[in-house]
Subunit: 178 residues, 4 copies
DNA sequence: AATGAATGAGTATTCATTCAT
DNA sequence: TATGAATGAATACTCATTCAT
């Protein structure tokens, strides 16, 4: 709306805002449609700014996905850390398995990671953290299995035309954990 | 590399071969790098042939993914149909959950489907068939849950640096089904 | 609507119908968008039929424009030939100058003729015939001048947002001819 | 032909030169043959420069035709504004009606405008200005009629194998205006 | 006689990246 | 430090025309 010729030669934190913008673009349009131009447009900065702050598109993606993975893992962590009993831990798992959240971003990451080792590290660290979080309440084998179950439940819910109801999710989880 | 003036004006089944080539390219390079040129190169046909047989790149992708989904579902079906007892059905599930197969193709499809309704139908039909196949041996609720579990196990195995061993997969499945 | 695999191996008059189809396409989409494919589609014949009946796109355009020019000149001729007195001749001119008819086709022809000598002959023959028709009632100098006036009036009417009313056209013509 | 590694990274006014080049190409080859490549070649700039400065071919055409229409209207205006008496005004009209100038560009514009509303505005503004210029010397009705007459005379002169002589043009105009 | 398949040249457009200012 | 201009490689797609059947 503002027509003012926005002059912002000094703008600390711009790099940061660019990463957020990138994440928004990935979520909305997909990695394939994530271009320098689009990110710059969304962040409302000149195109040249992109290559000033990042040496390549890959760097942008890596930073964006890293940020997302960290945020998602933080959430996972916190939700599980808040549980005091095994019952509460199960409740947490049901919650996490039932909220598709940004599964799309995760899947975009998986695809991108298949061709970029740098991103593979991001997914692995993420999986690592999920497992550690589950191990606060379950033995390592169970943690690993439940982690996979959650992934499958979230994924199928996101893709399905009739996603599972919360009760159905709970049923699946409890069958496993009780 | 071949300098032979390859004359192949009459080539029935070319469309078919192009779809196969597309699938190979998707698997190897990803949807993002799947271009008319690359497919034509792999199939060893002139570029113009691509747009003669398909009206758009989307059509190519849709046909390729449809073929893949059908083949994968066929395999899933056959493996489960061969099982005579519940024990054998469990063996089949363990097998299917343990073979990453072309999980990469599946994930590429999920991402592509997120932005293309035509592809969404493909994924849904595929999920449908998986569930039906499982229902030959398990009640609908179980079938649905196991389907998600398999997806999660395959996905995590493919992404992980230390994928689950067959025994670990069996353990996860049996915990659920026994 | 008919799904019948229309078999029409023997089809005299097809060439003719193709020329008509071409004319329709030119009028609707312009020469620039007049392609073999489009004409074949409109005429509901296979693409190969186009190059079977015409050796080049230029030939198609030449035939189509020739047909149109002849039809338009015929109309012009008849309208003027029907006039018995100078008064009736003036009425005829007013009529002709007031009906934009297919001026678009004419302008398309002018542009195409600028780059194709074959088409230039078509326009010249057309102009010739118009003048001859006017000479049935007016001296050669007047005929030529009125021919130009008609062209200008028709063209401006077609391009203008507020085209001249019939009365305005009559005023312009009578000022000249009375 | 020049093999010099032409370094011209900084080139203010390039957009402007591109519009001029476009106009030259349209005049020489016609809108149909006016391509990004050809314009870039004529202006001696890399192809990519075209789409940097213009978002579409339509934009190029619109800018080029606008420039041409303005220049032509300027000329028309000046020629008529210079006339002090009705006699001189008639002389001016004779001049303008007798110089085919870039009638080809005008006709190309008419055709293009038939399919592009943006261009239609250009033709309408042009016609408007012509009429206003004529109204400096003639009443509105006369101005409008003479405008059409000029158009017809110029057009027929350009298309004819034996264009009118200046005397013939004068005869036509004076018959109308005297 | 007629046509579906095939082809290669060409088109507009997009984009990551480079660079002069 | 920051950026607008510039560039060349690549992409999807169109099309007149050729050709084997």
């Amino acid at each position: 709306m503002s027509d003012a010729p926005r002059r912002r030669r000094h703008d600390p934190g711009r790099r940061d805002r660019l990463i957020d913008a990138a994440l928004r673009v990935i979520a909305e349009k997909g990695v394939a449609a994530t271009t320098h131009r689009e990110i710059a447009r969304v962040a409302d900065v000149p195109l040249g700014s992109m290559t000033y702050h990042f040496t390549s598109m890959n760097e942008v993606l890596a930073e964006a996905f890293t940020r997302h993975a960290n945020a998602a893992a933080d959430h996972f962590d916190r939700r599980l850390a808040a549980a005091r009993t095994r019952e509460e831990a199960i409740d947490a798992v049901v919650d996490l398995a039932g909220s598709p959240g940004d599964i799309l971003l995760a899947v975009e990451l998986y695809v991108a990671a298949a061709r970029d080792p740098a991103l593979r590290k991001v997914t692995q660290a993420w999986m690592q953290r999920s497992r550690r979080a589950l191990e606060q309440h379950f033995d390592p084998t169970t943690a690993r299995e439940v982690d996979a179950l959650i992934e499958g439940l979230v994924l199928h819910s996101a893709l399905s035309t009739d996603p599972m109801t919360p009760e159905q999710v709970r049923h699946a989880v409890e069958r496993y954990l009780r």
